[in-house]
């Protein structure tokens, strides 16, 4: 890749946190959807956020990515050795800093082809200057070629290489989810937020997803994952944070969390499987 002015994907070799959320509180009028949430994620790790419906998981993602502005709290993020504050930045700045996300309700660019969807993400790291594209100089052509190569590589990575030219809207549901992941990876993130990537997935797709998440983590990208399926979570995440009514009610290793009485209570009458299935 050519010179990029923005901190890129190179994971720092030093260990330490990639994300440190402190005391984030988000209210909508009288409704408190996040209430003093704190969590910490190690660089290169997979951390899962679970919790019943309406617990505030997506709200947390929206606060981290700049879509919502919490009333209180901070979220420090370490793209490299120096940390930056995420709260108060606009979503595209957050994305350029290296935090990418997918959406619970798939949000692709439906009429663009799969490869163009990814291209939008990859080109965010291209040299600035809207006028550069006007003159097809050799440098511009080479950049375009490199961009396309990278897009195809990412599509292959998520298993969509053979669908590159299809419009996104014409892809199957599971393929659309994977395309969203490829688009997010296109921005060269150091932290990837996945909002229920397995919703509506078949058993086979879940297995593939586990493999994919391992592969993403294998590239040195930290993954923050919202997921209801506790078995899938246990298969990919070393640590889990449980939210309920906007509060962190438990945190720890999967087996610890599963045995936690508060968690059992929160999920009583609401088995893990509730939102699963197509």
């Amino acid at each position: 890749m050519t010179g990029r002015p923005i901190p890129g994907p190179r994971p720092s070799t030093t260990l330490g946190p990639v994300l440190d959320v402190r005391d984030v509180t988000l209210r909508f009028g009288g409704l408190t959807s996040l209430d003093g949430v704190s969590l910490r994620q190690d660089r290169g790790s997979v951390l899962a956020v679970i919790g019943p419906n309406g617990a505030g998981k997506t709200s947390l993602f929206n606060c981290l990515t700049g879509a919502y502005r919490p009333q209180r709290g901070s979220a420090r993020f370490w793209p490299a050795d120096d940390g930056v504050e995420l709260v108060g930045r606009s979503p595209h700045r957050v994305a350029r800093l290296g935090v990418a996300r997918t959406f619970q309700n798939i949000r692709l660019f439906p009429e663009m082809s799969a490869v163009e969807n990814v291209q939008v993400g990859v080109e965010v790291r291209a040299r600035p200057g809207a006028l550069r594209g006007l003159l097809p100089t050799r440098a511009v052509r080479r950049e375009e070629r490199e961009t396309l190569d990278r897009c195809h590589e990412l599509l292959d990575f998520v298993g969509l290489g053979h669908r590159a030219e299809r419009p996104a809207a014409a892809l199957a549901y599971g393929e659309q989810r994977r395309l969203e992941i490829a688009r997010a990876l296109g921005t060269s993130p150091s932290l990837l937020l996945l909002d229920e990537p397995a919703a509506g997935a078949t058993a086979a797709e879940r297995t593939d997803l586990v493999t994919l998440i391992h592969a993403i983590a294998g590239r040195g990208i930290s993954v923050l994952l919202i997921e209801h399926d506790i078995r899938l979570v246990a298969a990919v995440a070393r640590a889990i944070v449980v939210l309920n009514f906007g509060r962190v009610i438990a945190a720890g290793r999967p087996d610890e969390v599963r045995a936690d009485p508060a968690v059992v209570e929160a999920y009583l009458g609401e088995p893990d499987e509730r939102r699963d299935g197509p």
Binding site: A95, I106, G133
Partner: protein, 523 residues
């Protein structure tokens, strides 16, 4: 749909199931199309199909459209009323004999259109069948008579024509042919027609190309677009003439230098308007831009001391080249202006064509299709929207220079109707398609020119309205829609135009009021 050709060899149960499934699928596809179209200007409209339930059946919809057209035709061709009896015109238009006549005409049009449709479907399906399985379908009987024709048609479409269209030289060749026509034909026309080619068609084609960036690429509904046209024209007046205006710039320049000046001034005006307003979405943006257009027109009209007021502006020097050895003035004849416009239009089309396929164009498309996702993917949506606004505005400013050097103008030239006219041209021609909007200007404005003697100017907009409504019903993507993502490379029937797409789950996803929707609301 009882006329469907019976498909032999299948059990009735299977058949009825598949027919129903196919119908449901196509209806779903239509609905989806409609939704995505409605969502285009960037606003997420909360749920709901914006079309009355009765109108969902294509045949019924078409009938309605034809009757509607008949009503309009009846009103337009009928007598006109006057201030004392405003409804006299309507009454006179619908005497029993006339009403019956026009209703019959509407029905006939409907029957004709349905019949034509049936025929093309049959031709097409026969063609597919033949292309797929050789003569098997024909051997099975039903519809054998159309098969050869269908097969010929299909092989023509997929064979040589498709190969030609895909070919490397087809696009340049087609464009060159169009350009040759555009260059060669106008000298043969009457002066009045040449005049119309400049001030009605050419200038509006340029305007439409600019608005196409805003509406077609970035999906922003701008109803005050004509204001930038005005800004370009008045800027030209200020910098090229010392006596046409009550006030003028300290130096006068050759009108050609007004081009870059107007470009910059209009672009700045675009940024100034866009800066605070582009945070608004959809309808709100439309209303604010509408207000902007009105303000500019009111200023032009009322600030007598600066703009000359309602008298308008005349006596600006025409475009001219004064170089050592080369002296040429565009003068008063329309033809030189026409060729200048052709050059400008081709230039703008070439530049935008590059832009459209570049990173910038993709970012605009992304914003148009899902602004929240674009922003989350790192696209600086605000900056890109401002850029679209500024680019559109500067093209409009260009058009303003040509107008100002060519002819007299006054504040009325820049009314809301002109704004809507440009928007109509863009929608009619095909949002996002450069050639489409230019053809749109040619067809719409050309029709208006041809009808100028038979239809009073006030009625022109009735026709425009009717044309646009019909267009939205029968060809919502416009005259010449932009090419979408390249079709899947796999050969065979998968490339057929109507392949049903797997539904995007956006509309029907679990928990429709979920966080993705609220993200939209929260910002």
């Amino acid at each position: 749909m009882k006329l469907r050709r019976p498909a032999p060899r299948r059990s009735p149960a299977v058949r009825s199931h598949s027919v129903r499934a196919r119908k449901a699928q196509s209806r779903r596809a239509q609905l989806r199309e409609l939704r995505s179209r409605m969502a285009r200007p960037g606003a997420a409209r909360p749920g709901g199909v914006p079309w009355p339930v009765v109108a969902r059946s294509p045949a019924a919809r078409r009938l309605g459209a034809c009757l509607f057209l008949a009503v309009i035709a009846a009103v337009v061709t009928g007598p006109s009323g006057d201030a004392d009896r405003p409804l006299a015109g309507i009454e006179g238009s619908f005497t029993p004999a006339r009403a019956a006549g026009f209703a019959a005409g509407g029905l006939a049009l409907w029957a004709l259109s349905i019949g034509a449709d049936r025929l093309t479907t049959r031709l097409r399906s026969a063609g597919h069948g033949a292309a797929l399985g050789g003569g098997r379908l024909a051997a099975l009987g039903g519809g054998a008579w159309v098969t050869p024709a269908g097969a010929a048609w299909a092989s023509f479409r997929r064979g040589r024509w498709a190969a030609f269209r895909r070919g490397r030289w087809s696009a340049p060749a087609g464009n060159l042919a169009l350009l040759a026509v555009a260059v060669a034909v106008p000298p043969l026309l009457s002066t009045a027609a040449q005049q119309a080619l400049v001030s009605e068609i050419g200038i509006y084609a340029l305007l439409a190309l600019g608005l196409n960036v805003v509406v077609g690429y970035a999906g922003l509904l701008d109803l005050g677009y004509i204001a930038f046209f005005a800004i370009g024209a008045y800027t030209t007046a200020y910098v090229t003439s010392a006596d046409a205006m009550p006030w003028h710039a300290p130096w006068q320049v050759n009108p050609f230098f007004a081009l870059p000046v107007a470009l910059v001034v209009a672009a700045v005006a675009g940024v100034v308007l866009g800066g605070p307003t582009l945070r608004l979405r959809g309808d709100y943006l439309a209303i604010v831009t509408l207000g902007f257009g009105e303000i500019v027109q009111l200023l032009a009209n009322n600030a007598d001391g600066v703009t000359g007021g309602p008298r308008g502006v005349f006596g600006l020097p025409p475009l001219s080249v004064d170089l050592p050895g080369v002296h040429y003035s565009w003068g008063l004849r329309p033809l030189p202006y026409y060729y200048l416009l052709v050059v400008l239009i081709v230039l703008v089309m070439v530049v935008f064509g590059r832009w459209e396929r570049s990173r910038t164009g993709r970012a605009w498309t992304a914003i148009r299709q899902d602004e929240v996702a674009a922003e989350a993917t790192g696209v600086a949506t605000m900056r890109m929207k401002l850029l679209a606004f500024a680019v559109g505005a500067s093209v409009s400013g260009f058009a303003g220079v040509v107008l100002a050097t060519k002819q007299f103008f006054n504040p009325q030239t820049f009314g809301l109707q002109s704004s809507l006219l440009v928007l109509t041209i863009v929608i009619f021609g095909g949002m996002g398609s450069r050639l489409g909007v230019v053809l749109g200007a040619l067809v719409l404005q050309g029709t208006a020119f041809l009808l100028r003697d038979t239809v009073p100017p006030a009625d022109r907009y009735i026709y425009f309205g009717a044309v646009v409504i019909l267009m939205m019903i029968f060809r919502p993507q416009g005259l010449l829609p932009p090419r979408g993502p390249r079709a899947p490379a796999s050969p065979g029937p998968a490339a057929a135009p109507e392949r049903p797409a797997v539904p995007t789950e956006r509309a029907g996803a679990p928990g429709p009021a979920g966080p993705a929707a609220s993200t939209e609301a929260a910002r």
